[in-house]
C-alpha cells in the first residue's frame, strides 16, 4: 500500500498537483507512516525528478514552480505532524540576491524555486542588492546561508566584497556563503573565500544542504 502511495506522491509532485499532494500527505499520516519516511520516500524523490527534468529541458519553469508549491504543501502538512522535540533539524534559512549593479534574476529565481521545494525558508531580496543590505537582512532573518548571484564578470567582485564585509564585521563564521551565476566558478569561490559554489539550481540545493549540515 505504501509503495502505491509513494508513487502517487511522486506523480503528484511531478505534475505540480498541490491538492493531490496534500491529500496524499494526509493519507500517508493517517495510515501511520512515519512523517520523515513519508517526506523522504514519497515526496523528495518527486522533487528530485522535477529538478532533473528541468535541468534537461524536459520540464519548464511554470511546471517547476507548480511542483515546488505541491512539494511545499505536502511538507507543511507532514512537518506539522512531527512531535515536538522529535522534529528534524530546523529548516535551513537562506537569504539570496543578485549582487549590486547586476539586474539579472532569471537564474536566481530558479534557484529560489528549487530551494523552497527542498524545504528551505528563502528570503529573496531580488536583484541589484547592495552588500550592506544582504548582511542586514541575513541578520534579521537569522539566516544560515547568504547566496549571491552574478551574471557578469563586471559584477562578480561584489561577491568578494561581501566576503570582505563579513570578515570585517566578524560575521564570517555566522553565515555560510554561496556564489553562483554564469561566469562564476569553483575557482572564484575558493579565491574569494566563499563557502560554496553551485553551477546550477540543482547543485545549489545539494551544496546548501551540505553547508547546513556543517553549521
Amino acid at each position: 500500500m505504501s509503495e502505491a502511495l509513494f508513487q502517487a506522491s511522486v506523480d503528484a509532485v511531478v505534475r505540480g498537483d498541490a491538492k493531490k499532494a496534500e491529500e496524499l500527505a494526509r493519507q500517508g499520516l493517517a495510515e501511520g507512516i512515519e512523517p520523515l519516511v513519508l517526506i523522504n520516500q514519497a515526496f523528495v524523490p518527486g522533487i528530485n525528478q522535477v529538478g532533473e527534468m528541468f535541468g534537461a529541458g524536459k520540464l519548464f519553469l511554470p511546471e517547476l514552480i507548480m511542483s515546488a508549491k505541491a512539494m511545499q504543501a505536502a511538507t507543511d502538512i507532514i512537518n506539522a505532524a512531527i512531535p515536538e522535540g522529535n522534529a528534524q533539524e530546523g529548516r535551513g534559512r537562506f537569504v539570496i540576491g543578485t549582487v549590486e549593479g547586476d539586474v539579472h534574476d532569471i537564474g536566481k529565481t530558479i534557484v529560489v524555486a528549487l530551494l523552497k521545494a527542498n524545504g528551505f525558508e528563502v528570503l529573496d531580496l531580488g536583484r541589484d542588492v547592495p552588500t550592506d543590505r544582504l548582511i542586514e537582512e541575513a541578520d534579521k532573518f537569522n539566516a544560515h546561508i547568504i547566496g549571491t548571484s552574478a551574471l557578469l564578470t563586471t559584477t562578480m567582485p561584489a561577491q568578494q566584497k561581501l566576503e570582505e564585509a563579513l570578515k570585517k564585521a566578524g560575521l564570517k563564521g555566522r553565515f555560510k556563503t554561496m556564489v553562483g551565476g554564469a561566469p562564476v566558478t569553483e575557482r572564484w569561490a575558493k579565491k574569494i573565500g566563499a563557502d560554496g559554489f553551485a553551477e546550477d539550481a540543482g547543485a545549489a540545493v545539494v551544496v546548501a544542504k551540505q553547508l547546513l549540515a556543517t553549521n
Binding site: A56, G57, K58, L59, F60, L61, P62, E63, I65, M66, K69, V103, H104, D105, I106, K108, T109, V112, A113, K116, D124, G126, T153, T154, A182, P183, T185, E186, R187, W188, E199
Partner: protein
C-alpha cells in the same frame, strides 16, 4: 608511467590527465549530449579523432589545410576599446579605428559593430546615431560588416521596462500573469528588433546579428524568430544571423510556439530548423561549458550537439566559441590552447560551417 596530457577544466584550471582519463571524459561527454538531445553519440572513430586533437602536443592547433572556415564576428572590435572591466583591452581607439584594425591588421573575415550595452532595446532611442556610425564605417570596410546585439528580453520587465516582472511573479505562483507579462515583453522586443533592423537597412546594412537569443527564455527566442520572419518579408536579401543562448531553449514561459512548434526545450538540431523556417541565413549553436568538468568532456558534448545540428540543417551552422561556450573554458581571456582545440574539433568533427 602513462604519458600525461596537458588540458584544462571548464573553469580554465590547467591539469594533466592521462590518455585513458581523457578518453573516458570524451565518452561520458558525448553520451550525456546524446541522452539529453536524443541524437547519436560520436562514433568510436570520431572520439579517437577528438582525443588526437586534445592530445596534440603543441600549445595551439589548427584545422588541416583545405578545411578552413570563416569566422563570423560578434563584437570582437569592441574588445579593443572597452576597458578591462568590460572584458576588453582599453586601447584608445574609436569604433571606426577598432573595426578597421580588426579587419586589416587581424585579417578578420567579417567585422561588426553594436551598442556597448549589446542589447537592441537601448539602440532604439539612439538609432540615428547608430545608423550614422554604421554608414560611415561601412563606407571604408571591405569584409562583410554586421550590426549585432542581443535581444535580451529581460530589459522589458519592470523596473527597466513596461511589463510586469515575470521573474518576480513566477515564484509567487502567478503563472498566468507571468506568462502574460512574457507575451507582452515578447511583442515589445519583436517590434524593437524589426525597427532597428529596418532603420539600419536604410543605410545599407550588410548583415544583422541576433546574438544569444533565448537568454531570457522561450518568449525571447520567439521574438527573434518573429522579427527575422518580418524583416525577411521586406528585406529578403538582408543576411540575418541568429545565435542561441544554450544547448536548449529555456522554458521560462513553457508554452510559446513558433509555426506550431513548442520552443521550450529545443536542442540545437531542432533550434536550427525553426531558425531556418523563419528565414535565418546562419545559425550560431551555443552550448554552455560546465566549469566542473574537463575540456574533454565539454568538447565531446558540444561536438555531439553541433554535429547533429549541422546534419539537420540546410543553412550554415557557425558554432559559438566565446567565453564559456561550446567547450571553451569560462575565463575572461579564454586560453588559446583550449580555444584552438575547440575550434578544430567543432569544424573537423562537428562539421561546423564557420565559427
Amino acid at each position: 608511467m602513462s604519458q600525461k596530457i596537458l588540458t584544462r577544466m571548464g573553469d580554465g584550471e590547467r591539469l594533466a590527465m592521462d590518455a585513458q582519463e581523457i578518453r573516458d571524459d570524451i565518452r561520458r561527454g558525448t553520451a550525456e549530449a546524446a541522452r539529453r538531445a536524443g541524437v547519436p553519440e560520436l562514433t568510436e572513430a570520431e572520439q579517437e579523432e577528438l582525443f588526437a586533437i586534445l592530445a596534440e602536443p603543441g600549445r595551439i592547433v589548427s584545422v588541416e589545410p583545405g578545411r578552413e572556415v570563416i569566422v563570423t564576428d560578434d563584437g570582437c572590435s569592441m574588445s579593443f576599446y572597452s576597458g578591462q572591466d568590460g572584458g576588453g583591452v582599453g586601447a584608445p581607439l574609436s569604433r571606426l579605428q577598432a573595426v578597421l584594425t580588426y579587419e586589416r591588421a587581424c585579417g578578420a573575415d567579417t567585422t561588426s559593430m553594436g551598442h556597448s550595452d549589446y542589447s537592441y532595446k537601448p539602440v532604439k532611442p539612439i538609432i540615428n546615431f547608430e545608423a550614422n556610425d554604421y554608414y560611415n564605417i561601412s563606407q571604408v570596410t571591405t569584409a562583410p560588416f554586421l550590426y549585432g546585439a542581443q535581444p535580451n528580453m529581460g530589459l522589458y520587465f519592470q523596473p527597466d521596462g513596461p511589463c510586469a516582472n515575470a521573474a518576480e511573479l513566477m515564484p509567487l505562483g502567478k503563472i498566468d500573469e507571468a506568462r502574460a507579462a512574457q507575451e507582452e515583453a515578447c511583442e515589445h522586443l519583436r517590434r524593437d528588433l524589426v525597427f532597428v533592423g529596418r532603420r539600419l537597412a536604410e543605410v545599407g546594412l550588410e548583415g544583422l546579428n541576433f546574438d544569444t537569443c533565448g537568454s531570457a527564455g522561450d518568449a525571447d527566442y520567439l521574438a527573434a524568430l518573429q522579427a527575422v520572419e518580418e524583416l525577411k518579408k521586406d528585406l529578403p536579401d538582408l543576411p540575418i544571423i541568429m545565435g542561441g543562448a544554450g544547448e536548449f531553449v529555456l522554458g521560462m514561459h513553457g508554452g510559446v510556439e513558433y509555426q506550431g512548434r513548442r520552443l521550450a526545450g529545443l536542442y540545437p538540431h531542432e533550434q536550427v530548423k525553426v531558425a531556418e523556417a523563419a528565414g535565418v541565413d546562419i545559425y550560431g549553436v551555443a552550448v554552455s561549458t560546465a566549469t566542473t568538468e574537463s575540456v574533454a568532456w565539454n568538447l565531446a558534448r558540444a561536438v555531439t550537439f553541433v554535429k547533429a545540428a549541422s546534419e539537420a540543417s540546410s543553412i550554415p551552422v557557425h558554432a559559438n566559441v566565446g567565453m564559456g561556450v561550446c567547450g571553451v573554458p569560462m575565463m575572461e581571456q579564454p586560453p588559446i590552447d583550449a580555444v584552438t582545440r575547440v575550434s578544430k574539433a567543432l569544424v573537423q568533427i562537428g562539421k561546423a560551417d564557420g565559427l
